[in-house]
């Protein structure tokens, strides 16, 4: 073995060892954690951002505040915020319970600040997209919905949200991609899993390049692939949850009435 910078050859050797794939500290286990954390964090952020965005789009209230907040966040480094929150919060979290094989016992004091950072990062894109989407709903359609006798909740569920769906979904998409990428940073917190664990630990293992470097590289590639897959999944989901009347997508010939026009005007 040469003393050159380690390359893809070492990655090949690393991948050849099934333990690095399937072992408890292997790629797949970390991928599973990464996915689970992403889902939980995005879900929590969406539960905050989407209702708040709908309310703001509906009432026009709080938009300046939220806009300023989102811009200010852009200037805050995620790692700095993570360290701050760990220092401030961890000492107050005393639970030592673990969660299955996703969270080791004792990881909670570190996981909660890390997840909080990511939730804070994920909220703004969803919030701003949602309220922009709701605000852009044709006021005449909303007025007609009310005039037809829909309750405010029915107006939101049947007209406003479906019409705003392209933007809501776009917000969800960019938040998800951001969480997938930023979760690697969260591994700077001790005991927090995910693919970032391999990268951060790999960095500290650089003394032995034959172990650390390929793990970093493998995890990094996996994060990138995961992001691409998630991106594709959202594009696919859009075909099902966005009404063709809103997306302007061609309507598939199904049932009685195929449209004669080949394109729709964007709206």
């Amino acid at each position: 073995m040469s003393s050159d910078l380690p390359g893809f050859a070492s990655l090949g050797r690393w991948l050849n060892d099934p333990d690095n794939w399937l072992g408890s500290g292997g790629l797949l286990a970390h991928l599973r954690e990464h996915l689970a954390f992403t889902v939980v964090i995005v879900l929590v952020a969406a539960l905050i951002a989407i209702p708040a965005g709908i309310w703001m789009g509906h009432t026009g209230k709080g938009i300046l505040l939220a806009g300023g907040f989102a811009n200010a966040l852009r200037a805050v480094p995620a790692l700095g915020l993570l360290i701050l929150l760990i220092v401030e919060l961890s000492p107050h979290i005393h639970s030592r319970t673990g969660v299955g094989n996703l969270l080791a016992p004792g990881a909670l004091p570190y996981f909660i600040p890390a997840a909080l950072v990511l939730v804070i990062l994920a909220v703004p894109p969803m919030l701003t997209n949602t309220y922009a989407g709701i605000q852009a709903v044709d006021p005449r359609a909303a007025d007609a919905a009310r005039g037809a006798g829909m309750s405010p909740l029915q107006v939101a569920l049947r007209v406003e949200i479906p019409c705003a769906m392209p933007l809501i979904l776009a917000g969800l998409r960019s938040a998800t991609l951001q969480v997938i990428a930023s979760l690697t940073v969260a591994a700077y917190a001790p005991l927090v899993g995910g693919l970032g664990r391999l990268i951060v630990d790999g960095q500290q293992n650089l003394i032995d390049p034959s172990l650390g470097y390929p793990a970093m590289l493998g995890a990094g590639i996996t994060v990138a692939v995961l992001a691409l897959v998630a991106d594709g999944a959202f594009a696919l989901a859009g075909r099902y949850v966005i009404s063709p009347g809103v997306s302007g997508r061609r309507i598939r010939g199904r049932g009685t009435a195929a449209p004669q026009q080949s394109t729709l005007t964007e709206s």
Binding site: A144, R146, G147, A148, G149, V159, S243, T256, A258, L264
Partner: protein
Amino acid sequence: MIRFNSVTKRYADGGVAVDSLDLVIDSGEITVLVGPSGCGKTTTLRMINRMVEPTSGHILLDGRDVTQIKPTELRRGIGYVIQQAGLFPNYTVLDNIATVPRLLGKTRRAARRQALELLGKVGLDPALAGRYPAQLSGGQQQRVGVARAIAADPPVLLMDEPFSAVDPVVRQQLQRDLLQLQADLHKTIVFVTHDIDEAITLGDRIAVMRNGGRLAQLAAPAELLSRPADTFVAGFVGRDRGYRALGFASAGHLPLHDEAVLRIGEPRGAARDRGQDGWVLVVQDALPLGWLRTTALDDAADDPVTPEMLNLGGTLADESGTLREALDAALSAPSGRGVVVHEDGTFAGTVTASEVLARIESRAAHLREQATR
């Protein structure tokens, strides 16, 4: 019946949109609210279905104060059509129309079946059922808007400038179809427009409003034209009102002249024998087609008369039509002889402008006499 009892609406910014309005809207009729921009027509209309709440006063719908009815329940019982339709872009045409029946608890299947029937009623091709609003023309959207409003068969229909965003030709068609629909359905329709011509075309009664939401005059179209209450109404009703009033005066039995007509396809030579003052009327299956100038037929006397040779300038007056129609037919005919047709469109006879004018004058004299008595 919808009754406004000194209803006032003052918006939060202090502006008075409607000022102690008293108004009775009869059932089964089209009542048009007309007036200049900002005079409070929309506000008045929207107070009926509680889209706007009055500051004071009461609105009674068949004797019930509307504020005693839950807004959602009230609105499901009142059709509402707005400018540019306001269709739901995420719903197909069919599901747009099915909205209120669905809200009232009908199954999707039943509501859609009913919606499909309605398409024909408002003059839409059933093939449009699966389209989305963005795939429709403005006129089609407006028809879907009307279908959506009447889907649950509400007794009352509120229409706020529903036809103002389409071109004049389509607008006329929509107006005609609305009148036809109304002849069928006998809804209580409150129709807002700022177009006095539209008001006159559609209204059984017209409420002219002036700024501040005050009622200037409530009258049938003919009366509005012949007896405007004040200079504001007179100015708003506009010029030509003397002529336009003829549109509400039955022509009665005009003295009709017979014409020696030419059937399409007959030899051109025959035209000269039957023509009168250089013009002959050409018909097909007794339906008038147009006028043929006999002096321009020098050669080819045996060739048949073809449609391309005809002057189509003349309008047709219905036998049981109005003086306005009859006068227009006479004035527009190149021969000076207005063509009058039977109800089935077949030729009845001709009438000249001076004959129609004589009828107009005798009618006016009669009215003057009545007024002085």
